[in-house]
């Protein structure tokens, strides 16, 4: 990280672990849970959020002295909505199948609390470069959790990763399945995502005791 000063580097590093948007700040849960049954969808979602948050933070940061405080929420919504439309149209053009899987959740990036949260908390008070780093950092922190959840759900639920059968074929009984391994259908249903995230929080807070909440 020689390119960045230490302070700037922390803007990216913090959200990845101790200030993670999902497990600590509790932002952007909805999409994190709904689309993580497959790793591919998780990765695409993470990239979309990375784009929207990175660019959006810069735009808001540039506009921060022009936007009247009273209508800032609407201005922010319009900026995000415009960026999300771009993402949605690109997905529809180049990855139509995937955009069907993500269905309304691409649109829901608009109301993803991470985006509004970072606009409010950071971009309105900081310069464009810092806001950009903050956006990238938080989007990466979000993406990491998404990918972890997607990884476990797809691996345990369907025995595949990115659609490839990494554990062998369940029908013809090769690989792990030959010794009696079974896919856990439970991991595919939506509520499993909540439990996986709960466990991630558990692991993270056991490792870093400072994060434990007061009861």
């Amino acid at each position: 990280m020689a390119l960045l000063s230490k302070k700037d580097a922390n803007l990216i590093k913090d959200p990845l672990a101790d200030n993670n948007p999902i497990t600590i700040q509790v932002l952007g849960i909805c999409s994190a849970l709904a689309i993580t049954a497959e790793l591919k969808a998780s990765v695409v979602m993470a990239i979309s959020v990375l784009f929207v948050l990175g660019v959006g933070n810069v735009v808001i940061s540039l506009l921060r002295n022009i936007i009247p405080a009273k209508i800032r929420i609407i201005v922010q919504l319009v900026v995000v909505a415009a960026l999300v439309i771009i993402v949605d149209q690109v997905l529809k053009a180049f990855a139509y199948e995937l955009s069907k899987t993500l269905s309304v959740f691409v649109g829901l990036i608009i109301t993803n609390c991470i985006i509004m949260g970072r606009f409010e908390a950071f971009a309105l008070g900081n310069g464009p470069w810092k806001s950009f780093l903050d956006g990238i950092g938080n989007a990466l922190g979000y993406g990491v959790i998404l990918v972890i959840v997607g990884f476990f759900r797809e691996l345990l639920g369907s025995g595949t990763l990115f659609g490839m059968k990494v554990l062998g074929d369940p029908v013809t009984k090769t690989g792990l399945y030959s010794i009696g391994y079974e896919n856990n259908g439970f991991m595919i249903i939506p509520p499993a995502a909540l439990i996986v995230v709960g466990i991630i929080i558990w692991v993270q807070r056991s490792r870093n005791r400072a994060l434990i909440e007061e009861a």
Binding site: I74, P170, N183, L194, I201
Partner: protein
């Protein structure tokens, strides 16, 4: 009448906003520490969903859909403005929330005091935008059903946040492992509640609608399991014997 009833129960139980599609999770987690605040936010969500879904239905029908502009004249029949739906929907929601806030403040100060702080929060609650977007993708045929859909999914959300708030008030007296306290245990409880709500999936059988995406994936998984089981039963004995022989 029957379709109204079906949509009503489907939106509350089967396609519950929180447990089936995870909409509005952020405020669901943040505002569910006390039952009284949860009730306030829940009521506000029902109200705003009931207003915005029919409004966005009108927008979708007469402005955004492919060929929706035909009422302006035949030369407009080719326009498809559906790519604008995100921006129009969110603008409607933001302005409606603002308007509702002003009206409520003027005419019912007591209601404003109980809902007031939650109304601005709601503009960015994904359950609200999600309601409009699902209304669009599910192609709800008329405005009565759209109103029904908005209100009943609001009630579903209300039920969910009420339930979790009640559980969280009780769980304060339980001995939860320290790292799980607060957020972690809430996630896991919500997951378990979601699994419970899955059982409502069997409530509305025999309809002609195509099943939801989540249901098809689980159904598929179950199908696969059954097929596997058949093969399993045959092969288990063989492979087991082999393993023992080795």
């Amino acid at each position: 009448m029957l379709e109204h009833l079906e949509l009503f129960f489907r939106s509350i139980f089967v396609d519950n906003m929180v447990f089936a599609v995870f909409l509005g999770m952020c405020s669901y987690l943040a505002v569910s520490k006390k039952v009284s605040t949860a009730v306030g936010l829940g009521a506000a969500v029902i109200f705003v969903l009931g207003v915005t879904v029919p409004l966005n239905w009108l927008l979708d029908q007469y402005l955004l859909q492919d060929g929706a502009l035909v009422w302006l004249g035949p030369e407009y029949a080719d326009y498809d403005l559906s790519f604008l739906s995100f921006i129009l929907f969110i603008a409607t929601i933001a302005t409606m929330v603002q308007l509702v806030e002003i009206v409520v403040e003027k005419f019912s100060p007591s209601l404003y005091n109980s809902l007031g702080i939650f109304l601005p929060l709601i503009a960015v609650n994904c359950a609200i935008l999600g309601g409009s977007l699902f209304m669009q993708t599910r192609e709800i045929p008329n405005i009565g059903l759209a109103l029904n859909y908005g209100i009943s999914s609001g009630i579903g959300w209300f039920l969910a946040i009420l339930a979790i708030a009640a559980i969280r008030e009780k769980i304060r007296y339980s001995n939860v492992p320290a790292p799980l306290r607060g957020l972690g245990i809430t996630f896991i409880i919500t997951g378990l509640m979601g699994i419970g709500f899955q059982s409502f999936g069997g409530m509305l059988t025999g309809d002609n609608e195509p099943p939801e995406e989540t249901q098809t994936t689980t159904a598929k998984a179950e199908d696969e399991k059954e097929i596997k089981k058949e093969i399993d039963d045959k092969e288990k004995a063989i492979s087991y014997n082999e393993a023992i022989n080795k």
